[in-house]
C-alpha cells in the first residue's frame, strides 16, 4: 500500500509535494471549453451523423436544399447543449471560487495568519472556530475541550444530521494550546481514497513533544472537508489531504448515467431507420445512375456532359443520402430532453406527493428516466425507515426470564417493572445500566437543565430515553467519564474502551470502570445470534431465545443485553492487543474484530429488549395496489427473519396462510443450502400454475452461498418468485440482488432510506430514496426522493405511466413526420428522373421540422389518456407500459406504415396531376379569378411544392390531434 508522510508544520518539506487546497470541480476552462465540449457532443453517434450530413450539404453539386436548413437546427441544438454545460460549469466555478477564497487561520513560520483556503498546504496547522466549515481533511490535534473532544456535523458528507464526536489523538492530549503552534511530527497515512468511514494512520511527534510511541489514528481523530464544527469553541488540526484529494473530493464524481429502456429502444429503432435509409439511398442511387445513363442522355434539354469527374457515380447516391437525411429527425433529442425535464418538474410540483408532516416535496434528481417508472417490474425495498417509520419506541423487555410489558404492551407503564426498579432488583438495575451506558449517544444539556439526546442509531436513542424514563438518566458524557443519575444518586463510570458496532459483528460493547467500586465490566448489546452463543458455560439461554422469538412474532426489533466482570490483569493484557490492532494499517477492521472476540465471551445474559417500529401510513394499500399492477416485491432487510416475515405479513407482502405460502431457504453449509434451494425450487415449479401466493425467505448467510455456488438455481428461483424476503443482508448483497434481477432483463426499482441502501439504489435502474430519519444519504444518491413510501404508488402509476405514454407517442410521432416527408421526396424522385430533386424548398423544410411539427406536439406532455383516478383504481392498466406495448418494433412498424399510407394518400391527391386542375382554384392564391381559371391547367413545381407542404402540414397535425387523448383549453 502506498503511503504518504505528512510532516507537521514543516514549511520546507511539504512544499510542492502534494497539491494545494484549490478545489476544482470544473470540467472546462475558458480555453478548452469549445474543443472539449464539441468533442464530447460529437462522441455521440447521432451528432456525428448530423455533422456528416451538414458537411456534405456544403457541396453544392449534391445538396438538394440550402445548407442552412441543416446547419441552422444543428448549430441551435449544439448551442443549447453547450450553453447548458457552460452554465453548469460556471456555477461550479462560482461555488469553487467561494470555497477557495474563504479566509482561514493557518500557522505559517510559527505565526497564525489569515490566508485563503486555496493556499493551504499539506502539513499546515489550521485553526477553526465554532460553526466554521472544515476546508480540507484534517487530523485533529487540539480543541478547546479539556477532554480533547469536539463535535462535528457531517451532513454534507454523509447526510446524517446528528452530531458526531471527534477526539484528539492520545499523543496530543494535554498539550497546551500555546504550544500547538510549535508542534512538529510526522503522520503516516494511506494515499488519498474515498472511504469516509476509514482512516488508518499513525502519528509520531518529534521532540520536545516526546512520545516515542506510534499513536494510532482513526476516522475519529479527523475532521473531514465540508463538515461543520459545532458546540466547540475552537479546534486545531493538521491538513493531511487537500484540494481534490480529500475524502469528499475523491468520492465526488459523475455517477454512471442511467439509460431508460425506452431510450434504448429508441436508439435501436433509430439504427433500424438508419439501415432503411442506407437501403433507400443505395437503391435510388443505382436507379438514378441507370436512368442517367439510359434516359437522361436522350433528354437533350438537360445537356448531360458526356464525361464526368471520376466520382460521378457517387453523386446521385450522395444526393439521395442528403434528401433522406431528415428520416432521422434532428429534433428528437432536443424534444425528448425537453419533455423529460418537464416530467421531472411535474413530479417536483406534485402537491399530492408532499409529505405534510415534514413539508418535504417529492424531487426528481435525475430528469432523464421518468419513463422507466412506468415500466418497473421489480421493486426491491428496504424495511426499516422505508416501510416502517423508523421511530423506535422501547415497548417490552424480558429480564432474567420475567416478561415486562406483555399485558399492556408498554413496559414503561408496567407496574411490575416500575416496582422492580424501585426495589432495586440487581438484574433490572444492571439491565437499565446497559441501556444507559452501552451506546454512543451524546446527551446535550440545555441551559434550562433538560437533556436531549443526539444519537447515530435510533435504537440507542430509544433505549436511553426509556432508561431515563425508568430513572436511570444519562446526564453527561465526557469521553471517558459517563455520568448517570439513578434516582437522584450520581454515578460515574469511566469508559475504558468502546468495541464498536459493525454489521459483521452485530454487537457492540463497552468496557467501563465503575468509579465507585473500581471494578471493570464489559457491557454488551447486540443481535441474539451475536450474543446468545457466547453465554457463559452453564447459563440457560433458552428462555431468552424464546423471548426473542416471541417478540419477533410481534414484529418487534430485539436486542440482547449481556455483561461480564473483568479482572484488572485480563483487561491490561487485552488492552495491549486491542491497541495494537487499532494501530495497524493493514486489515485493521479484521484485526480489531479479532481482538474484540477475545474479550466478548462468557457473557452473563441479562435480558432482551424489544423495540417497536411502526409501519408507515398507507404501506399495505400501496403494496397491494402495486402488486395488482403486476409489480413484484422483494424485501431486503438487515433485520432478523421473524421480524421481517411479520412485517411482510402485516403490509400485504404475502397473503396469510391458506392463500400464501412461505418457503424457507436456510442452512449453514453449502450442502444444506443446496438441498434447501432445490426443495424450494421444486415447490415453486409445482405451485406455479396454481393461483397461490408463494414467497421465499432467505437469510444473508444462505444468500451468500447461493449467490456464490448456485447462482443458476437461484436465478431461476428469482424469476419464478413474485415475492421474496431476504433478511440479514448486507448492503453489498442488496446491490448483488439488484444486479441479479437486472441481468434477467427486469426493470428494477430500489427504494430505501439509509446509508446501507445507497449501493442498491445506485445499482438499480431507478433508485428512490425516502428522505427519512436516517438522514438524507439515500435520498441524495437516488434518482427520485419522496417523503413517504405511499407516494411510490402515485410516482409509478401516475407519473411513470403518463411519462411512458407521452414519450412513446412523441418519439414515434417524430419519426412518423420525418418519414412522411421523406417518402414524399422518394416518390417524387421517381417522377423527376431519379435525379435527386427536392420537392420542398429549404424554408418549407426547416419550417416543417422546427415550427409546424415540433412545437405543437410538445403539447402532448399535458396529455392524459386516462384520468389519474381511473389509473389508481385499475392499476392493472400498468401492464401495458410494463410490457412495452406502446413503443416496440411492431408499434413502430405501425407508425412507419401510417406515414407510408398518408404519403400515398397525398400522392393520390396530388400525383394525378392532369386530373388535378380543379383543386388549384381552391388552394392557390392568385390575383383574379379569371387569371386563376386561366392557369388552371398549369401546374408549376413551386405551387406543387407549396401544395404538398400545406397538405403535409395538415396531415401531420391532424394525426397529432387524432392521437392526443384530451384537449386542454
Amino acid at each position: 500500500m502506498m503511503k504518504r508522510y505528512v510532516y507537521i508544520n514543516d514549511d520546507e518539506l511539504s512544499e510542492d509535494l502534494y497539491c494545494v487546497n484549490r478545489i476544482s470541480n470544473r470540467k472546462y476552462t475558458v480555453l478548452n471549453f469549445l474543443p472539449k465540449n464539441l468533442w464530447e457532443q460529437f462522441s455521440r453517434f447521432m451528432n456525428q451523423y448530423f455533422l456528416l450530413i451538414a458537411c456534405l450539404q456544403l457541396w453544392p453539386l449534391i445538396t438538394p436544399v440550402n445548407p442552412a436548413s441543416t446547419w441552422g437546427p444543428l448549430i441551435l441544438i449544439f448551442a443549447v447543449s453547450a450553453t447548458k454545460e457552460a452554465w453548469d460549469d460556471y456555477n461550479r466555478y462560482l461555488s469553487d471560487k467561494k470555497a477557495n477564497e474563504k479566509e482561514v487561520w493557518v500557522v505559517k513560520q510559527g505565526i497564525k495568519k489569515h490566508i485563503q483556503a486555496q493556499d493551504i498546504r499539506v502539513g499546515d496547522i489550521l485553526w477553526l472556530r465554532k460553526n466554521d466549515e472544515v476546508p480540507c481533511d484534517l487530523v485533529l490535534i487540539g480543541t478547546s475541550d479539556v477532554q480533547g473532544l469536539c463535535y462535528v456535523e457531517t451532513s454534507a458528507l454523509d447526510g446524517e444530521t446528528d452530531l458526531k464526536t471527534r477526539v484528539i489523538p492520545s499523543a496530543c492530549m494535554g498539550i497546551d494550546s500555546e504550544l500547538l503552534h510549535k508542534i512538529k511530527g510526522v503522520i503516516e497515512c494511506p494515499n488519498p481514497d474515498k472511504d469516509i468511514r476509514r482512516f488508518d494512520a499513525n502519528l509520531r511527534l518529534f521532540p520536545p513533544f516526546i512520545d516515542n510511541d506510534l499513536c494510532p489514528l482513526t476516522i475519529k481523530n479527523t475532521l473531514l472537508q465540508s463538515c461543520y464544527l459545532r458546540n466547540t469553541e475552537w479546534a486545531c488540526g493538521v491538513a493531511v489531504y487537500t484540494g481534490n484529494e480529500t475524502k469528499l473530493g475523491m468520492s465526488r464524481g459523475i455517477p454512471e448515467t442511467k439509460l431508460t429502456a425506452m431510450d434504448a429502444m429508441i436508439d435501436k429503432l433509430t439504427g433500424a431507420i438508419f439501415i432503411f435509409q442506407l437501403v433507400v439511398v443505395i437503391v435510388l442511387g443505382l436507379a438514378g445512375n441507370v436512368w442517367k445513363d439510359t434516359e437522361a442522355r436522350k433528354q437533350w434539354y438537360v445537356q448531360y456532359p458526356n464525361e464526368g469527374p471520376w466520382y460521378e457515380f457517387l453523386i446521385i447516391p450522395l444526393r439521395f443520402e442528403l434528401l433522406c437525411s431528415i428520416m432521422i429527425p434532428i429534433s428528437i433529442k432536443v424534444s425528448l430532453d425537453f419533455v423529460k425535464s418537464l416530467y421531472a418538474k411535474f413530479i417536483d410540483w406534485d402537491n399530492e406527493m408532499v409529505d405534510v408532516e415534514t413539508g418535504t416535496p417529492a424531487h426528481a434528481a435525475n430528469t432523464a428516466i421518468s419513463e422507466d417508472l412506468g415500466q418497473v417490474e421489480y421493486i426491491l425495498t428496504d424495511k426499516t425507515g422505508t416501510l416502517t417509520e423508523n421511530r423506535m419506541i422501547f415497548k417490552r423487555c424480558c429480564v432474567s426470564g420475567v416478561f415486562y410489558g406483555n399485558e399492556n404492551g408498554d413496559a414503561l407503564k408496567d407496574v411490575e417493572l416500575l416496582s422492580a426498579v424501585a426495589s432495586g432488583s440487581p438484574d433490572v438495575i444492571r439491565f437499565l445500566k446497559i441501556m444507559a451506558i452501552c451506546n454512543t449517544v451524546i446527551p446535550i444539556q440545555s441551559k434550562s437543565g433538560s437533556i436531549s439526546y443526539k444519537a447515530q442509531s435510533q435504537d440507542e436513542e430509544a433505549l436511553v430515553r426509556a432508561a431515563a424514563h425508568l430513572h436511570m438518566v444519562l446526564v453527561n458524557n465526557n469521553v471517558n467519564i459517563l455520568e448517570i443519575n439513578f434516582n437522584g444518586a450520581i454515578e460515574h463510570h469511566e469508559i475504558l474502551d468502546i468495541l464498536e458496532f459493525t454489521s459483521d459483528r452485530k454487537r457492540m460493547s463497552v468496557v467501563v470502570k465503575d468509579r465507585g467500586s473500581g471494578r471493570i465490566f464489559l457491557l454488551s448489546k447486540g443481535a441474539d445470534e451475536a450474543i446468545l452463543p457466547h453465554a457463559r458455560a452453564g447459563q440457560q439461554t433458552r428462555s431468552f431465545a424464546e423471548a426473542v422469538e416471541q417478540y419477533a412474532q410481534l414484529g418487534l426489533r430485539t436486542l440482547c443485553f449481556a455483561w461480564r466482570g473483568i479482572e484488572e490483569e485480563e483487561y491490561q493484557e487485552w488492552s495491549l492487543i486491542f491497541k495494537e490492532a487499532n494501530s495497524t494499517l493493514v486489515d485493521r477492521e479484521w484485526r480489531v474484530a479479532e481482538a474484540c472476540q477475545r474479550l466478548e465471551h462468557d457473557f452473563e445474559i441479562l435480558g432482551v429488549a424489544a423495540i417497536e417500529d411502526r409501519l408507515q401510513d398507507g404501506v399495505p394499500e400501496t403494496i397491494e395496489t402495486l402488486r395488482k399492477a403486476g409489480i413484484n416485491f422483494w424485501m431486503l432487510t438487515g433485520d432478523k427473519q421473524n421480524t421481517a416475515v411479520q412485517i411482510a405479513l402485516s403490509c400485504n407482502f404475502v397473503s396469510p396462510e391458506p392463500k400464501g405460502q412461505l418457503l424457507l431457504i436456510n442452512g449453514k453449509t453449502e450442502d444444506e443450502v443446496c438441498r434447501s434451494l432445490e426443495r424450494v425450487l421444486l415447490t415453486m415449479r409445482i405451485t406455479e400454475s396454481e393461483p397461490k401466493d408463494v414467497a421465499f425467505v432467505i437469510d444473508g448467510w444462505a444468500l451468500e452461498i447461493a449467490l456464490k455456488h448456485y447462482r443458476k438455481a437461484f436465478t431461476e428461483l428469482a424469476i419464478l418468485s413474485r415475492t421474496a424476503i431476504c433478511c440479514r443482508v448486507t448492503p453489498s448483497q442488496k446491490a448483488q440482488l439488484v444486479e441479479l434481477l437486472k441481468s434477467c432483463e427486469y426493470r428494477t426499482l430500489a427504494i430505501g432510506d439509509g446509508g446501507n441502501d445507497v449501493r442498491m439504489i445506485q445499482q438499480a435502474d431507478i433508485g428512490v430514496g425516502i428522505s427519512g430519519r436516517e438522514g438524507l444519504q439515500a435520498a441524495r444518491a437516488a434518482d427520485y426522493s419522496i417523503g413517504k413510501f405511499r407516494f411510490l404508488k402515485r410516482l409509478i402509476l401516475v407519473h411513470g405511466r403518463y411519462s411512458y405514454n407521452r414519450t412513446a407517442f412523441l418519439s414515434q410521432y417524430s419519426f412518423y413526420k420525418s418519414l412522411l416527408i421523406c417518402f414524399i421526396q422518394i416518390f417524387f424522385s421517381f417522377i423527376s428522373g431519379v435525379s435527386g430533386t427536392s420537392l420542398f424548398n429549404s424554408v418549407s423544410l426547416m419550417a416543417y421540422n422546427v415550427v409546424y411539427t415540433s412545437i405543437p406536439v410538445l403539447v402532448s406532455v399535458l396529455d392524459k389518456d386516462l384520468s389519474e383516478r381511473t389509473v389508481m383504481q385499475h392499476p392493472q392498466i400498468l401492464f401495458y407500459c410494463q410490457a412495452g406495448r406502446l413503443l416496440n418494433p411492431s408499434t413502430f412498424a405501425g407508425w412507419f406504415g401510417r406515414s407510408l399510407f398518408h404519403d400515398r394518400g397525398m400522392g393520390w391527391m396530388i400525383g394525378i396531376e392532369r386530373e388535378f386542375e380543379g383543386l388549384y382554384h381552391l388552394v392557390l392564391p392568385s390575383s383574379t379569378t379569371s387569371s386563376c381559371a386561366s392557369i388552371g391547367g398549369i401546374s408549376s413545381s413551386d405551387s406543387f411544392s407549396a401544395l404538398s407542404s400545406s397538405l403535409i402540414y395538415y396531415s401531420t397535425n391532424d394525426s397529432f390531434i387524432f392521437f392526443v387523448d384530451d384537449f386542454r383549453m
Binding site: 433528354q299 435525379s835 430533386t837 392493472q876 391547367g937 401546374s939 408549376s940
Partner: protein, 321 residues
C-alpha cells in the same frame, strides 16, 4: 400554489352514436359537393389532339430525329379538329408535353432569378452552366430552361377565317410584375453553339415575353400542360377547326409526346372528374361505414366500460389476479 394547476380539459369518448353521427354528417356534406363538381366537370368541353407522330412526313417515319433536327425540312403541319359540343368563350389553348422532365435536378435550378428580375444583375449567371455565357458576354435569359423554350406555334382558322389567339392574361401577375424585369432585354440568346428552342425578340423586355414566362414556371411532373393562349370566340358543335402547326420542338429524341389541348372552364376549373369522384367516394364510404356501424350497434350491441375487453384480461401473462 402557482406551480400546480389544473387546466380545463375535455375528453371526448367515441361512443357509437357520436361516431355514427360524425360519419353520417361527413357523408351528407360530401356527396352533394361531389355531385356538383362532377356535374360542373361534365360541362367542360375538352379537345385533345396528339400531333407529334402524325406531323412527321411518311418518308421520315423511321427517322423522326433527322427530320426535326434538319433545317431543310418543312415543319408545317395541318390538323383538322371537329368540335364535339358548343364551346363557350374563352377557350383555353394548351400544349401538353409528356415524358419531359422539367423537374430534373440539372434543369429545374438552371436559371438565375436575379438576372431575370433586373438589368443590374445582367452578369449574374450563377447556376446557368452550360448556357451562361458566350464570347460576347452573358446570355440573357441564361440557363437551360430558357434555352429550351418551347417553339411550336399554332394558327387556328375556321373555314379559312383566321381565329386570333390572345396572349392576354396567360401568366401569373406576380411573375410579370415582380419576377421578370421590364428593363431586361434578351441578349446573346440562342446566338451561338447549340440552338435549343425558340428565339426571343431582342426588343421586347422579359416581362412582356409571356411564352417565356409560362415556360419558366417549371412543371412539377413529367407530363404537363402549359397555356398557349386564349380563343375569345365561341365554337359551335361539329365545326371543323383547322390548325396550322409549326412542328419545331424536338421530343423525338426521348420519345416524348406533344398534344394540343382546347378546353373551356367552369367554376371548378378545367375538365376534372377526379375531384367529384373523390368527394363521392369518400362521402359514400362514410355513409356505408355509418350504416354498418348502425347495424352492428343494433344487432350486436356491446356495453361500454366492460373491462373484460381489455387485453390484459384476455392475456393475463404472468398475472394471477
Amino acid at each position: 400554489m402557482f406551480t400546480q394547476q389544473e387546466l380545463p380539459a375535455c375528453k371526448p369518448i367515441l361512443t357509437p352514436p357520436w361516431v355514427i353521427t360524425a360519419f353520417v354528417s361527413v357523408g351528407i356534406i360530401f356527396i352533394p359537393i361531389g355531385l356538383a363538381s362532377l356535374f360542373a366537370s361534365e360541362h367542360v368541353v375538352e379537345i385533345i389532339d396528339r400531333y407529334d407522330k402524325d406531323c412527321v412526313p411518311s418518308n421520315y417515319t423511321n427517322n423522326a430525329l433527322a427530320y426535326i433536327q434538319s433545317t431543310q425540312t418543312n415543319k408545317t403541319c395541318t390538323r383538322h379538329l371537329i368540335i364535339p359540343e358548343r364551346m363557350k368563350s374563352p377557350i383555353y389553348v394548351y400544349y401538353q408535353l409528356e415524358n419531359f422532365y422539367q423537374n430534373h435536378r440539372r434543369y429545374i435550378k438552371n436559371r438565375n432569378d436575379y438576372q431575370l428580375r433586373s438589368r443590374a444583375y445582367e452578369f449574374d449567371v450563377d447556376d446557368c452552366d452550360p448556357e451562361a455565357k458566350t464570347e460576347r458576354g452573358p446570355i440573357v435569359p441564361c440557363g437551360l430552361i430558357a434555352w429550351s423554350l418551347f417553339n411550336d406555334t399554332y394558327r387556328f382558322s375556321l373555314q379559312n377565317e383566321v381565329i386570333q389567339v390572345s396572349k392576354q392574361d396567360i401568366v401569373w401577375k406576380s411573375d410579370q410584375n415582380h419576377k421578370f424585369g421590364s428593363n431586361v432585354y434578351p441578349k446573346n440568346f440562342q446566338s451561338s453553339g447549340l440552338i435549343g428552342g425558340a428565339r426571343l425578340n431582342q426588343s421586347i423586355p422579359l416581362s412582356k415575353q409571356v411564352d417565356l414566362i409560362v415556360w419558366m414556371r417549371t412543371a412539377a411532373l413529367p407530363t404537363f400542360r402549359k397555356l398557349y393562349g386564349k380563343i375569345e370566340v365561341e365554337l359551335e358543335a361539329n365545326q371543323n377547326l383547322t390548325v396550322l402547326i409549326q412542328n419545331n420542338y424536338n421530343t423525338y429524341s426521348f420519345a416524348g409526346k406533344k398534344k394540343l389541348v382546347l378546353s373551356t372552364t367552369s367554376w371548378i376549373g378545367g375538365k376534372n372528374d377526379f375531384l367529384g369522384i373523390a368527394y363521392l367516394a369518400v362521402g359514400g364510404l362514410c355513409l356505408f361505414v355509418a350504416i354498418s356501424f348502425v347495424l352492428l350497434y343494433l344487432l350486436k350491441p356491446r356495453p361500454l366500460e366492460d373491462p373484460s375487453y381489455l387485453s390484459w384480461n384476455i392475456n393475463p401473462a404472468g398475472l394471477s389476479n
